[in-house]
Structure formats: C-alpha cells, structure tokens
C-alpha cells in the first residue's frame, strides 16, 4: 500500500487513489497457507492462491501487481542462482552477507587495488591481507599460475586467508599463494639481525595479541548460504554448460573451523613450495627460502595492504623497502586521517612519489522502461586508498645497489 505513485508513470488509467490501508485485502489466512503447505502445494501454487484471494489485486496498477507477485514469490517459492566463483561474485557475496569478514572491502575498491598495484602475470605481489584472504585470492586469480602472491604477517600467527578456498583454484594457481612473516622477509634481506628479531617474536604477549586480532577480523560464527541473487533462476533450470560451485553452508563451513587453527609457523624453512609439481592443493604454504631469496634479489613487483582497521602508516614504511624501485603500491584503510599522516611521512622521507589518496564511489542503476533511476539504497563507503610508487632515493641507492 506504500507504493509510490510516480513509480508507474505509464499511461494506464488505473491508480491507487481508491486503495485504503486497512489490512483486510487478503482473505487467505496464514492458517490456510499452512494447510496448503501440508497438502504439498508448491510455492507457485500458493502465490497463485494469494493473488486469487486478494480483493485489491485487480485494482492495482500493473507495476503494483508485479511487485506483489515478486514479493510473494520470494516468500513462498524462493529460487537460487548457481554461479562460478570469481573475485567479483565472492566479494559481492561477502560484502552483502558478511562484510566484516572482508573488512567491508567493496568490489570497486578491490578492483582499484589490483590495478593500482599493476598486478599481472609474472608479478611477485606482496600483500598484507587482513580481509580474510579475499585480496590474496583476487591477486592469485590475476596471476593465473605465474608469479607469486606472498601474504605477509607481523608476529607469529598468520593472517587467515580462508576465503581463498572459495575461488576453487587449480593446484597450479594455489601453489603460487605463499605466506611469510615480515621478519623472515627481512631476516634474509638483512642477515645480521636475525637472532634479535627471533627473540622479539617469541614473546608471549605478541602471540596473544595477534590472536585477538585474528578473531576480531574473522569471527568464528559459521556462515550460511550466500544467496546473492536468490530469486533469479530455478535450481532445476541450472545451466549445465559451465562448472558451477554453490556457495552454501557446506563449502563455506568447511573452511571456517580452520580460522584459528593455523599453526604458528616454524623457524624451519624446509616447507618449501616449488613451482608446479606440489602434491598438496592447499594455498598459502610457507614461502621457501629460495623464493624469499629471489625476492631479496629482485624485490617484490608491488605491494597491497588491506588492513582496514589497523594503523597502517608505519607498517607501510617498513614494507616499502621490500619492493623493487619504481614498484607501485596501494594501501586500503577505513580511516582517512592515518592515511593522510602516512602520505605526509612518505613525502617527507622521499621513499615514494605519485602519492594520492582517493576514495572509490560506486552506484548501481535500475534500468527498466520508464523506471530508470539509481538504486534507492547505496553503499556509501568504500574505504580510502593511498597509492604511490616506491622510488630509488639517494639513501637506498647506496644500500641496495652494492
């Protein structure tokens, strides 16, 4: 009854001036409907019955009739769309249902991060992924089984990257997803201070604190069906032409319990991930020392930080030296002020140029005959991104070129 008049500016003469809001229009009671269900009526049959028993349906405009029908179908005859997983569908599904698990990283922001960091085949991309693995997976998708994405972490507990499993990658692609502590990446770069760092990292406090962090970002609650486009097509009319994977409680649930059970990494670096003949399909093995050494030699080709709730400013200054000169980077955060401070510090330290803070803005439109307009509800916040290019400052010329 709250239909907006001007949503049907067609030339039909019917309008809702004669409709009164007295809740007596539907003569079918909920008991009647329950009875139909017990007798095995299909959802579509119930919807037809509801329409037949509505005293106002005939008086409604065509658009109102359609809306009524869709509403009832949603309730009594829900449908599910099956879809091949990709970064867009995974990102959209989480964003809609479990935004906190991906740090509310909106799809357009994710796209920007990938472009700004020049991710492509043969890239070696360093990521600080505190968005559950969505970023790591999206990078790996672009690598297509070449290069590497290295998910780094401060402290001893890995950042959970369970969402990577949602991508259903081949083992070839999975083998390109590795993890390494920031300390390991540094130890090998600076052989002199390894023992010091090891000592620091073993303290109990650090371990406990990263635990808290991990929990706050990926809650233990199990996930339910991700029905992103639930009423679009019938399960029965599943297109058989492509391999689909359902987002459901099973697939998502199977990764959930592991969130907190990632073993603290060992000092032993024998768990290497070699090129493509790896037996295990699981992504995120510890980076081999050969790999880490090669990054020391060549530098990472870019950096993406998606740690939405963390003060990232000083971390960026620590991570930038791991990048090769002229490598681009992109830092995603929920707060503007820390990024501004970080940008100012990078300007002052002459570590980077082409610095820019930007904010993605996204709007979806309904395009229908005579009813075209932007969606009435929108996501008003896609985070802030600091992007730039690491340069070869005079200081690093000295230390790195020799």
């Amino acid at each position: 009854m709250q239909d907006k008049d001007y949503l049907h500016p067609s030339s039909e003469m019917k309008d809702n001036r004669s409709l009164f809001d007295n809740n007596t229009a539907q003569s079918l009671s909920s008991e009647d409907i329950d009875a139909m269900k017990r007798e095995g009526a299909t959802g579509d049959e119930i919807v037809e019955a509801l329409i037949a028993n509505s005293s106002t349906f005939e008086k409604k405009t065509t658009l109102s009739q359609e809306k009524y029908k869709v509403k009832k179908q949603k309730k009594y005859a829900p449908k599910v769309l099956l879809r091949r997983p990709c970064s867009r569908s995974i990102c959209e599904a989480y964003f809609k249902k479990y935004p906190t698990r991906i740090g509310s990283l909106r799809f357009d922001a994710l796209c920007l991060l990938l472009s700004m960091a020049n991710v492509g085949a043969y890239s070696d991309v360093l990521v600080l992924d505190m968005v559950g693995g969505l970023l790591t997976g999206a990078v790996a998708e672009r690598l297509g089984g070449t290069g590497y994405v290295c998910s780094t972490h401060f402290g001893t507990s890995r950042n959970p990257i369970d969402i990577v499993r949602m991508f259903n990658f081949s083992s070839e692609v999975n083998s390109r997803i590795v993890q390494a502590t920031f300390t390991d990446l540094c130890i090998i770069r600076e052989n002199d201070c390894s023992s010091f760092h090891q000592d620091v990292l073993k303290t109990e406090g650090d371990i406990k604190n990263t635990k808290i962090l991990a929990e706050s970002i990926v809650p233990k609650s199990s996930m339910h069906v991700l029905d992103e486009s639930i009423q679009e097509t019938n399960v029965s009319s599943d297109r058989s032409c492509i391999s689909h994977e359902i987002f459901n409680a099973e697939t998502i649930g199977q990764s959930s319990p592991q969130t907190d059970s990632n073993p603290p990494i060992e000092d032993d670096e024998g768990m290497s991930v070699s090129s493509t003949t790896e037996k295990s399909k699981s992504p995120g093995r510890q980076a081999s020392s050969e790999l880490v050494n090669s990054w020391k030699e060549r530098g990472f080709s870019s950096l993406i930080v998606a740690a939405p709730e963390i003060e990232v400013g000083s971390l960026v200054q620590k991570l930038l030296p791991l990048l090769s000169y002229s490598a681009p980077f992109a830092i995603y955060n929920h707060c503007l002020q820390p990024l501004a401070a970080c940008m100012h510090r990078l300007q002052a330290s002459k570590m980077a140029i082409s610095l820019q803070i930007s904010e993605p803005w996204l709007r979806e439109y309904q395009v229908l005959p005579s009813r075209t307009h932007p969606h009435m509800q929108m996501s008003a916040f896609g985070g802030y991104i600091l992007s730039g290019i690491r340069i070869c400052s005079d200081a690093c010329n000295g230390s790195q070129e020799n």
Binding site: Q2, D5, D206, L213, R371, M378, A380
Partner: protein, 307 residues
C-alpha cells in the same frame, strides 16, 4: 511549530503547555510527536512518563519516567516533523527540501502551489518559508491522504498557512483562481508533464517551478515539455552523506611486532578553553556511515518565460 504571533516562538521563557505538540526524543533515530494532554501518559521501553510532569518545563528539558528512564522534549520544527511523520507515501527529506525551498526563492509573503501533498513532509517547510503573510495551497488526488495531512497541519498549528484540497492536478490542472498570482509551484507527480501547462498559467512572470521525479524518464519528458514556455531549465540531484564517530583505538606495536588494538586512554580534562583538543582529536575516529540513501529523485527547476 511557528505562528504569525512572534511571542509564540520558542525561547527561554516559553514553557510546555497543555495542548502543545512536543517531539519526544529518545535517540537520533527514535523520536515521536506527542500532543501534551494533562492526565495522559507516554510509554516507551524506559517506562511511563506523565504528561503532567512535562507541563511548565522549558522545551529541551530532560524528563524522567517512573523507572528513571529519560527522554528529551523538543520544540517541533519542520526538520523534526519530517523525522516523525507517518509515511503515507515516499517522503522528501532534508537535503531535497532545503534545496527546493531556496531554489524556488520562497520568502515571507509568497503564494506557493504544491501537488501532491503526500505525507506533508515538504509542506511544513514551505509554510515556514511563506509565513507570516504568504500561503501554501497543496493538492492531493487521494482523499484519505489529504484528510490525514490536514489533521497533521492543524496539530502543528499551521492551518493559517496551509490549505489542503483534494484534486487531480494531472487531470484537472490547478484551480483557475490562482491564475497568474503564484510565486512558485512544486510538483511531485507521476506524470508531471501533464500538469506543466496549468502550472505555467498559475505562475507570475519569472516565477519558479520545481518538479521532483525519481525516474529519469519523467525528467526527460518534463524537460521536453518545459522548453515550450519555461527558461533556465536545470536538473539536479542532492544527497546527504552521514558520518559516524567513535573513540579511536588504533595503535602500532613496538619493535615492528604485531599491531595491537589498544583501548582508548580517556583523558577527560575538558576545559572550556579547548586546550585538550590535540589529545582528543587524535583519538576520535570519523568515517562515513556504510549505508545511505542512494537516490531520492531528480529535481528539475525552470522559470516561466516572460512574454
């Protein structure tokens, strides 16, 4: 809400009287309009509030329930009314309303036509702008809706500024009595182009018209029609983005180690000199709210061409 008697405006002296309309404020997103009536009660989840306790208190007072819960009693304004009114239709909100009032150049003394009345969200702001000497004539084709809007305006004490009539403006046009005497016209109709010829007859020369439409097709068709006898046709969209604040807790661990989420060390020496600002500012986080109204409608304005 407001009246042609300046002594009735809110002030330190003006206290809540029996029969006043007050806005009962629980939270930013939870308010209600209540007519104060000696002997009545107001009840919410915080307990029962006696109207008799309210009478004689200044507007803006905090009042308590039998259980010690409290609400604030606010003086009604068009902005607050928009937040509490019954939604009988989609309504216009602050951003659109404020833009329309200013763009239509409505000032005290103006005569304004509006159709449809809808839930009357814009109408009270129109009335405030024309008061004390102007008038708003508002039309809705839906009889029940017009009647309810009229009741609302009376409850707000605005009956001397607003006249509500039942009329199908798209079909019949505005009444002839307004021919050439109207300063501004506001249309919120499904097919605004049908009402434009009549609106043009009503307006004074150089008078301003606004048409609000959610769909771009309505705008396209209206603009086409407007070009016949209007000038300065311009279309806008206005929105408001809201921000939320919280006490910040971001800190970085020492030694390059893991990052900690530290609780905020609250330093509450709030002097009136503002000396503690620096410490405070660093710990207040502000970010846009996640969800927002993404679209309300397009506002198309035009001036009646002088002949």
């Amino acid at each position: 809400m407001f009246s042609s008697d300046p002594s009735k405006r809110n002030s330190f002296q003006r206290c809540i009287c029996d029969g006043d309309l007050v806005i009962v404020y629980e939270r930013h997103d939870n308010m209600k309009a209540i007519k104060v009536k000696m002997g009545s009660d107001f009840q919410n989840r915080y307990g029962v509030f006696k109207h008799s306790d309210w009478i004689g208190k200044p507007f803006g007072s905090k009042v308590f329930s039998n259980k010690g819960g409290f609400v604030h009693l606010l003086f009604p304004t068009p902005e607050l009314w928009t937040l509490v009114l019954s939604h009988r239709t989609q309504i216009l909100y602050l951003a659109d309303i404020s833009f329309v009032i200013s763009y239509l150049e409505i000032v005290p003394g103006c005569v304004v036509l509006e159709s449809g009345t809808g839930s009357g969200s814009l109408t009270t702001s129109l009335a405030r702008a024309v008061a004390p000497s102007g008038h708003v004539y508002t039309f809705d084709f839906h009889e029940q809706r017009a009647a309810l809007a009229r009741e609302d305006f009376i409850m707000n004490g605005l009956e001397s500024f607003i006249t509500v009539s039942v009329r199908d403006i798209q079909g019949e046009g505005f009444p002839d009595e307004f021919c050439g005497v109207v300063d501004s016209v506001f249309l919120d109709l499904p097919q605004p182009w049908l009402a434009l010829p009549s609106a043009a007859r009503m307006l004074k020369q150089d008078g301003v018209l606004c048409s609000f439409s959610p769909c771009i097709e309505q705008v396209q068709r209206s603009c086409e029609t407007l070009r016949n006898n209007f000038t300065d046709v311009r279309t806008f969209e206005v929105l408001l983005r809201m921000y939320e604040i919280r006490e910040g807790r971001m800190e970085v661990g020492r030694n390059g180690g893991p990052m900690l989420l530290k609780p905020h060390k609250k330093r509450q020496h709030l002097s009136s000199e503002g000396e503690c600002e620096d410490e405070e500012r660093t710990t207040i986080m502000v970010k846009p709210c996640n969800e927002a109204r993404g679209h309300t409608g397009y506002l198309t304005f035009a001036r009646l061409a002088c002949t």
